[in-house]
Assembly symmetry: D2
Homo-oligomer: 358 residues x 4
């Protein structure tokens, strides 16, 4: 009887990078090599490398020492297979080319580590003929179908550390300290860092705010003799009527950071000096927290089991202590925003945190 050919899989990371990507790559690749004897090909620069055919075989040595390292050893890009940008600026659909390279590499399946948008692009590759398994990574924590995404715990810890630092300096002066965190469409990061750091005000995209309510809560603290207030703002937070609904906000239209806008308005309304910090890309970097490493390792090795079973075209979701394979169709094109009755929101309101909506 002919010996069965060993399976061969490809791995790529797509979209913004985040801590835990290397831990997940290690989990998938060590498990499929060691337990299932598969070959592993690392594809560089996300979908761009798949289209441009840039890759190399990952051997055991490549996987050593990467568990704790931030970023992604395979690099990443925001290129989409169906909208590949030519030097001239024009975009063309390269999905067929991506599939062609997948086939010529002899891959049995492509493991794709990506965020919400990547799930959609992964499904397009499935429709083009590829087998695909995805893993949910994003500091925004807003992928549908999974309890939590890797990268989130680390980014949230960076944000919390910033709130902690602002606390100690805010207490020495009399000030409003505004911290702008990432989170354009969902507020998990600002909510988590805000509650964990004990912010007095938390503004997230899911809860449109009224700047007067925010100012009131700062005045109220002032009356209680509190010398300072900490305001955690997601970059996607907005007033109920939009920024144009408030003349003052509209006038600050040149400034694109919501944190800066909020700081200026609060200063005007309360008379208390405001200071603004824009944390920026610092939130994406650094060694993953233990929780993120555990999550990435759990999901990465789970993907190995799915690869061995030939169970393709799913995302590996975290469910409590375990995990579950979810059809890509159920995940693609959706976003898991913060539910308004989430326990953290309830908890924060109970202890007096303002979300600017009352």
């Amino acid at each position: 009887m002919a010996k069965k050919r060993a399976k061969r899989i490809g791995i790529l990371t797509a979209g913004g990078d985040c801590p835990g990507l290397n831990a997940a790559i290690r989990g998938v690749a060590k498990a499929v090599r060691r337990r299932y004897n598969m070959d592993v090909i690392g594809i560089y620069d996300g979908f761009q490398g798949l289209i441009e055919n840039r890759w190399r075989i990952l051997d055991w040595e490549d996987l050593s020492g990467i568990l704790t390292v931030g970023g992604t050893m395979l690099r990443t890009s925001r290129v989409k297979p169906h909208a590949y940008q030519l030097p001239g600026g024009e975009t063309i659909d390269m999905t067929a080319q991506a599939y062609e390279n997948y086939r010529s590499l002899g891959l049995d399946c492509l493991v794709i580590l990506g965020g919400g948008g990547t799930q959609k692009n992964a499904l397009r590759l499935v429709e083009a003929g590829c087998n695909v398994i995805t893993l949910p990574k994003t500091i925004d924590n807003d992928i549908e179908g999974t309890d939590v995404c890797f990268g989130y715990d680390t980014a949230m810890a960076v944000g919390t550390e910033a709130v902690d630092r602002l606390h100690s300096t805010a207490d020495s002066h009399k000030r409003v300290m505004v911290l702008e965190l990432m989170g354009n469409k969902s507020g998990w990061l600002a909510l988590g860092a805000g509650v964990a750091g004990g912010a007095d005000v938390i503004l997230i995209p899911e809860i449109p705010f009224d700047i007067e309510h925010v100012a009131n809560s700062i005045r109220e603290r002032d009356r209680q003799g509190k010398r300072f207030s900490i305001v955690a703002v997601a970059e996607g937070a907005a007033p109920a009527g939009g920024f144009t609904g408030d003349r003052e906000f509209a006038d600050a239209g040149e400034e694109h950071h919501v944190g800066t806008r909020v700081g200026r308005r609060l200063e005007a309304l309360t008379g208390v000096e405001a200071r603004v910090t824009i944390l920026g890309y610092v939130q994406r970097g650094g060694s993953p927290t233990p929780a993120d490493r555990l999550l990435a390792t759990k999901l990465g090795t789970a993907a190995a089991d799915l690869l061995a079973d030939g169970e393709y075209n799913v995302m590996v979701a975290s469910r409590g202590d375990g995990w579950k394979a979810i059809p890509l169709e159920e995940v693609s094109g959706k976003r898991r925003t913060v539910p308004l009755d989430h326990a953290w929101i309830r908890a924060a309101r109970l202890i007096g945190t303002s979300f600017g909506d009352e």
Copy 2:
């Protein structure tokens, strides 16, 4: 119509301390004061203070700035109401005295923050007439009925940092590095820190080990050209036949640290130098991680809602994003050890980690 008297609650922390206790105290007390207008009495030194009637009223100022602080502002002790130790060494049952003080303080309910043993003591107070709500804290993570206990994530992060540090120094020399972590009856801490840190061997109480298997996995790494191995050992890990079943282990009987015993045996069996670290109480201290602060705040404020509803004699358990009140009877006297099919164990085995059992 007569105005209803405001409820009055007591809070105490019992057993070993851990990060997150202050965050939980803050969550309970801020919420019941602010939202439900209750009085909050802090009882010092755990059950000892309840018996000896040491307490004070917690005002708003006491709750400020404690979210990030390790330990417990109310201090703790290992005194049990039914086995209170007299100066002479004799123990007597002071449960009735504890109830008497509860009553004379006019408490409607006692909020008890404690570990597995504390749940049992809390149930005894219920039987004596107290209303009780408990919160699950322990770095061991082994309380029945809750997904996770606060204190665990922080202790696990301390353990993981130690594994990380040992990695960098182990790599420079040729060595076996043994790290003994807490966990007498359950291996959550060693398992979590071991997988998150990429330990090569993890020994936990739930999986009796064979030192020959451990030595083999180190020899195997040697053959592959790996210069070092990291062994994470829970203090309660033991060989399949017990320490007396192995003559060499028996001879090292004077030494009570399993880490030291394992290190000596591995050195003898493999010829590779072994170095042992006993992390000890460093695992209990320090500022809680963001995840522990979020958990403690969620459960603390949930207790406030239960207090308002008069739903007593339950433990507030974490369940996914939310929480659930569980009757103390269902929790008391039980221990949640690591299931042998837990995803972290499966993951670790897939990437080549040895548990010393094969």
Copy 3:
């Protein structure tokens, strides 16, 4: 013979807060109380509290647990005795009032923890009749006469951590990462964090830069196949001709952050995407590093010895392992900027770091 009255000293913290202030307060107060039996009065809110007579006696309990805490337990303000601002906005000279309160409190000496500007204000109080001893604190590290100032090592560590985080994320994409650090008149913070973090370009006020040189060094890295460049910019860095000398810079005049300006110009010149982080007040907060605690404790206790000896009107400067009392006249009104031949600059140039000047 009449028993000599115990000396009584006052302590205040002035100017921007920084890590290590509490450690220094603890050092002074514990030593003078314990060894020299003096009374210690803590004056709130810097010179404002001295003028407005807000203070309280510091007892032993106040000094416990503050060693590791950021900010200042005495709070601070930017008020100057000779330019005290009235509610109407007018400023008046309150130096005489400050002296009056000093006298009515029965102080033998005032210990002032402050930065460069504070040394000047301290000298004014001396001229008004007060005895004064100052301690050099500032994250800018630019006080004349001392090797190093407390607060600097911690702020530099925060900056370095940010560079480290940017490294891991920059490596995953193709990008220029600009990090703006504090340092309006001196570049110690950007230089230290830049060299410690391995930044590719460091721009400081002491070395006027040419944006074309900066762009060239990024293009050079690009040619070598480096995918990213890290640019550390002090907020006071400026082009050789000033921002108005470059039309592009002039056009970005609305934007007050030099980091943002540099990022935009580099993007335009190199065609590589730039991302900007403004660390802001995060640099002032948090627990002091061990080095800062040691420095603050050394200088604080040294002040106690000077107080006992009645050696007043000096700043306690750090000199190698020891310290030295320097007359305030020699310190006041001066600034210690980074010497152009400093070993860190030499070191950075040798390994290829660009300062934008060649």
Copy 4:
């Protein structure tokens, strides 16, 4: 005219590893390659690799990303050229072989990164005919002639973090917490971490202690209502009469950790429970602090300048902001222990820290 041959240098790391070795390797190698166009050969495993001729050329890529990494990319060993151990256990002098390999590699100079003992071995190689430049690395901080050694600041920070963690947990219970730190012949590490962490007792080799004095200082704290005491012990600390002079210590002779011995005796003398932590190799690992990176980079690049000038057979010492080349003869065979009048000791005594000698 014949073009001058480029110089070729070798680098090796010897003795125990410590944080900052990679930063120093990077400093030397980047500077000599980039500025002086020399070839750099990395020799593996310290003197063992020099004797056994194991090495490889370091190219630019090897030097990228190592600044922040603990340990040493060249690995290290405790092998000495004049006492090389044969498989049978016999030791022979391989100094001639070391020189032979140095010569056959065509090296102009050997850069050796090592501690106190390594300086002596380096001098032996000089006598055998090699050109040598050394850099002072050791977590013990006890090399003669330099202000400070790289590795120390990081190890001290790890020790301080442990003291901080013990503080928060000690405060919750009533306990003596003993922390044993490295430092066999000198107490810099225990002194630095002890003062920075606010330990109540610090025991170092330079100051023989009397356990009764230590017990008294703990009883004194007890009388003042302090619930806990932190004792930082260097592994080389000893009672004035030696351990045999005290019957109780003598009886604990089996236990080799001074920390454990001290803990047991204090428990017996004071009646307060003691808990012991042995930090062990955790002190050697992890990413170097910014201060250590700056120091290692300064000294590494200074070595490059010396190499270019052909100034050999010196150690590059740190002196204030700068550095100085010191003849190996002046350094070899000496140890810089803590002076008894060091400002940190004076400071600690002033605020009430006991050194067990009074």
